[in-house]
Subunit: 242 residues, 2 copies
Amino acid sequence: MKIDPKSPADLSAQIAKAIRDAILSGDLIVDERLPSEAELADQFDVSRPTVREALKRLAAQNLIRTQRGAAGGAFVRRLGYHEARAQHITTSTLLLSMNAVDFDTACEARFALERACAPLSAERRSADHLATMRAEIHRQSQPGLSDESFCDSDVAFHRALVDGAENPVLSYQLAGAVEAMQPLMNMITFTQRNRDMIVGLHTRIADAIQARNAAAADAALDELTAYTLQLGNDAMVAREKR
Amino acid sequence: MKIDPKSPADLSAQIAKAIRDAILSGDLIVDERLPSEAELADQFDVSRPTVREALKRLAAQNLIRTQRGAAGGAFVRRLGYHEARAQHITTSTLLLSMNAVDFDTACEARFALERACAPLSAERRSADHLATMRAEIHRQSQPGLSDESFCDSDVAFHRALVDGAENPVLSYQLAGAVEAMQPLMNMITFTQRNRDMIVGLHTRIADAIQARNAAAADAALDELTAYTLQLGNDAMVAREKR
DNA sequence: CGCAGTTTAATTGTCTGACATTTTGTTGAC
DNA sequence: GTCAACAAAATGTCAGACAATTAAACTGCG
């Protein structure tokens, strides 16, 4: 762990970077204990509050966890799929909402990636994944469902489709594209006719996955892509008219 | 912005969460100025260092930026593609390295996603993207190139391929899959024969993209996937023998 | 009245020192 | 030998102060 020169300001950022680099480069192993705040303050020649701010930065990135008490301190944290996924979704959602990404771009990205999963999912899906897909289709068919709940179910359906590929890296990467779309999808008002159409396409996808027919799944996803794009554009037009 | 109960500990985390939620929910707009640290300390009924730790957490997530001086303070930050990309790559790299993801899984995910981009890239690629791809192929062909530089160039080539789809959301999502693979790829020793083979496949991909031939690009990527998987498995076997 | 230079005030960055809280380890009594 | 009380170590929090920086207000001169 190295020092920092008398560069102008933001000592805490420099210290955080030094420690982060040590973790990234493997100098610090998972579950390894960092020196105490007092020791770090001594090493970097700064005060304890400054060290603390640096540690909080790292804690915010899920790189360390802290524990109070005698044998306490800061420990390098194992970044699990769950936390990484949550972080990825948060970042993706913010990115989309803060940059006024148009519906077409986000939609295109989402379905392009999903179609990459479909063949793998058709090959490997378990009965569990299939059951989840069927259950969500059933939920989507229920009358009186709010638009928001319909979107929730839509996301759950597609998550099951992606998870069916049994590749955690793929699930992690896709989470950002699928879940971050939800706020955009929530701007759409789904008529009963829209819902019937989507449920029909979902059923075709589930059937194809069940039959391990990658080509059929791809075709249904292609239609769903086009239909979703159309719905999004209709919503945009209606929005501008208002 | 609401208060926090007398819950036991980690006031700074609670405050950070409160402010983060305010940003996520849209209560705080981009470039809006937060109250000063002293005011926040007053509102939340904590001391200024505690507020500062909370703000550092948010700064680490690129949610705010701080500025010194009279009209200074903390401002809600627009999350740009560049920062989001960097964050995503860091998280993905850590996720792979800390969870001992096997080469096959990561490789499968990467190429599945890349193949999703290829058709779009074939359709939309600019002369610039094509020139970058050709330049990287040329770099990869040079003798005496270190394995590390070869990998660098490989990543640059694939980045150009993905960027060719002209979809920033896609580029962002793919960055995690492509760049995070680099540490794994760096464990492979590339013989001259390996490199010739890869350069050949890259050339086929570039040719297909130039000709706007999606099917040919897909076929070449398919071969590259298989070849990369084989190289990775060979490296694993060699590693275990040692 | 207008503009340039200076002053001033607000705000973050950092330090010092202290106390509270929590957990662990040790020691002493039985 | 076992258990309980105490001491130690570490983080969490607070209070007050000073330094650094920057924008705005003010002042003086033309």
